[in-house]
């Protein structure tokens, strides 16, 4: 358990459809198996679609999942003005003082999405091979500034003509020493690596 005033916060961002919610569906159960108490905040423009999807999965009690309806492109409420998310964080911290981690999921803004340091202690940027293997070469802020870059849906690479090896090399080249991990949420490939990175980077294991 962590002091509620200092619950670590992890942002998970990336383009629409890259697999952010799927990653959460697999990483949160991994963290729970390590004894961690987790809550999730999702950001959607006009709905609670992602929050409802997570609630339907049943691995977290519904009260531990908060959907923020941003009313604007979600990137604006994780970077420019994070007050709505900070309020959601405050409510979760009050309601669940034993939390070890709060995950804040948000899509939008294509490759330039980043999290305000005021909101997230670290952030993961999720891209996928079907979005194009040239994404790392385009070097958006999500690629270059995120604390962890996840390349998801690696199983699809041969079917969409993506060169996964070149994509990974480009990602490392764009990011220098910061890590890049490969995942396939259908099979669980790489999920443990992501979970271990979260524990190391934010929970200081």
């Amino acid at each position: 358990m962590t002091d509620y005033a200092e619950v670590p916060r992890l942002g998970i961002g990336g383009p629409v459809g890259s697999g952010k919610t799927a990653l959460i569906e697999h990483v949160v159960p991994y963290l729970q198996r390590q004894g961690r108490q987790v809550a999730v905040i999702t950001n959607d423009i006009l709905t609670q679609e992602d929050a409802q999807r997570l609630r339907n999965r049943g691995f977290l009690s519904p009260e531990r999942i908060v959907g923020v309806e941003t009313g604007a492109c979600p990137h604006t409420v994780i970077r420019e003005d994070p007050t709505m998310n900070l309020e959601a964080v405050r409510q979760l911290e009050e309601q669940f003082p034993a939390l070890d981690l709060i995950i804040l999921e948000s899509g939008g803004d294509n490759l330039a999405s980043t999290y305000s340091p005021e909101l997230a202690d670290a952030f993961v940027f999720v891209i996928d091979v079907a979005g194009g293997d040239d994404i790392p070469r385009k070097r958006g802020l999500g690629i270059t500034r995120s604390d962890l870059l996840v390349i998801n849906k690696v199983d699809l690479a041969p079917y969409v003509g993506a060169n996964l090896e070149a994509m990974t090399q480009d990602a490392h080249h764009a990011r220098g020493p910061r890590p890049v991990l490969l995942t396939n949420c259908k099979t669980g490939l790489g999920i443990q690596d992501v979970g271990e990175w979260i524990e190391r980077a934010l929970l200081f294991v």
Binding site: A5, E6, P8, R79, E80, A112, P117, E118, D121, A122, L141, R145, R200, A201, L202, F204
Partner: protein, 174 residues
């Protein structure tokens, strides 16, 4: 893992602490770390010190680390000295011959253009600061497109990013 307990002060403002840091250095009780401006705004960081020590930095929310800050460790003697890497900054200043109404007009235009680019800004006295995160030519092209280069002078500096409390406009001659 090394952990810090609290901020002892800043060597740029406290000569006694600066002397203490020198003494720690002599007896190998000083750890140092260099972070960037973005990291300086975070409340939780896992870092390696210059000697390779694993360091977990946890600070109260809202804390901004300044260059020269010194932190005490939780379970060992000595301290941690933080250096913040300087960053390149574009400094924009309105041309002095503009009237007050023209200044209002062009400052609003500038704010709109910079906001559309999602570029962070700070206002210090009569200058607007923008971190250089792209090629200078690209940034200047954006400003030129909106005729802002005719109204603002530009120079570049390597400097620390002003803390929130310092980045407010203060009227001249006050």
């Amino acid at each position: 893992m090394l952990r810090i307990s609290h901020r002892r002060g800043n060597i740029h403002r406290d000569s006694d602490l600066a002397a203490q840091v020198t003494r720690w250095e002599r007896v190998h009780q000083l750890e140092e770390v260099t972070i960037n401006e973005r990291e300086a705004q975070k409340s939780r960081l896992r870092l390696q010190t210059l000697t390779g020590q694993d360091l977990g930095l946890v600070l109260p929310r809202g804390t901004e680390i300044a260059d020269g800050d010194v932190f005490a460790f939780t379970d060992r003697e000595g301290g941690l000295l933080v250096h913040i890497a300087l960053q390149e900054v574009m400094v924009l200043t309105l041309r002095p011959e503009l009237s007050l109404s023209e200044q209002h007009h062009w400052l609003v235009r500038l704010g709109h253009v910079l906001g559309n680019q999602h570029w962070p800004i700070a206002s210090v006295n009569e200058a607007v600061l923008v971190p250089v995160t792209l090629d200078r030519a690209v940034m200047e092209t954006v400003l030129r497109t909106h005729h802002l280069l005719d109204q603002f002078t530009i120079r570049y500096e390597r400097r620390s990013w002003p803390k929130a409390a310092q980045s407010v406009w203060t009227p001249p001659h006050s």
